[in-house]
Symmetry: C2
Subunit: 126 residues, 2 copies
DNA sequence: TCATTTTTTAGAATCAGTCTAAAAATATTA
DNA sequence: TAATATTTTTAGACTGATTCTAAAAAATGA
C-alpha cells in the first residue's frame, strides 16, 4: 500500500460517492499533486483485485467505483443519473444453487426514476 | 423499424447470445452488406430506447446486448468470460418499496467461476 | 409530385482506458 | 551501508469503443 494507493482509496471511500476514474484523479491530485492518471488506474485495479473497492458501471460512458465490495444494490436514476446504494436481502445460497459454480460477488442494478425527478416530471395542471 | 434496425434486432435476438456492438456489426453485414457501424450503434440505441433489447456491461471493455428487456440475472464467469442468463425470483414489489420511486427495470449481475472453469482449476494431486 | 423529416453512410473526432519506457521508490541481500 | 533487484510511479503516446458530422438516401405526408 503506497501513498498513492492510500490517496486513491481515501477518495473512493468517501461516503455515498460513486466517482469516475477522472473524478478520483482530480481529487487525488489535491492530496498528492504529482500523482498521474496511470497511477490512479493502476491503484484502482490493485484495490479492486484486493477486494477493497468495487467497480460499477452506470449507463453512461465511464466506470465508477464503490467503497464497498460487499454485495449490495444500486439504484440508477435514469433522469438525474444519481446513484444510490441499498442493502440487499441475502440470497447467496439461492445464487449458488442457480449458478452451479463458485460465487465471487454480486450486484443488483436497478434503473428507476427517483422521487425528486418524478415530482419534477409530474404536471398536475395538464 | 427500418431494414437496418430489423437486421440488428434479428442478430441480437439470437438465443443465448450476448454480442458486442462490433460482433453485431459483423453479423449484420452478412444480412445487409452496406450497413455501417454508425447505423448499428444508432439502431442499438433506438432498440434499447424502445425496450426491445437491453444493454449489459461485462467486466471487459465493450458493452454487450441482450435480446430481452425483462428483468433477469446474468452470471459472468471471471475466468472464461462466458455470460449466462438466469431467471430472477420476482422482487419488484420489494424494490419499489426500497427505491421510493418508479422502477424501470433491473438486472442482477453475478461474478462467479463456472463449473467447467472450476473443474479445470482443481488440482486433486496437490 | 414536392417538401419535410428521418435515417443511413463513411469517415473524422473524441474520450476512457491501456501501454511503454525511463525514473523513483522500495525491498533484498551481502 | 552499499549494491542489486523488484515494484511502483510518471508522462505521454497509443488504442479501441463509441460518438459526431455532414452529405446522400429513404421514408413520410400534404
Amino acid at each position: 500500500m503506497t501513498r498513492q494507493r492510500a490517496a486513491v482509496l481515501s477518495v473512493v471511500s468517501r461516503k455515498g460517492c460513486h466517482y469516475t476514474a477522472e473524478e478520483i484523479f482530480t481529487e487525488a491530485k489535491l492530496i498528492l499533486p504529482t500523482i498521474s492518471r496511470a497511477t490512479v488506474y493502476n491503484s484502482l485495479h490493485a484495490l479492486e483485485r484486493d477486494r477493497l473497492i468495487r467497480r460499477i458501471t452506470a449507463e453512461d460512458s465511464s466506470d465508477r467505483y464503490d467503497s464497498s465490495y460487499i454485495p449490495h444494490g444500486h439504484l440508477y436514476c435514469t433522469r438525474c443519473a444519481k446513484i444510490t446504494d441499498f442493502e440487499l436481502p441475502s440470497f447467496t445460497e439461492h445464487l449458488c444453487a442457480v449458478a452451479d459454480g463458485e460465487i465471487d460477488s454480486y450486484e443488483l442494478k436497478v434503473r428507476y426514476i427517483c422521487k425528486e425527478c418524478k415530482k419534477m416530471v409530474e404536471t398536475p395542471k395538464m
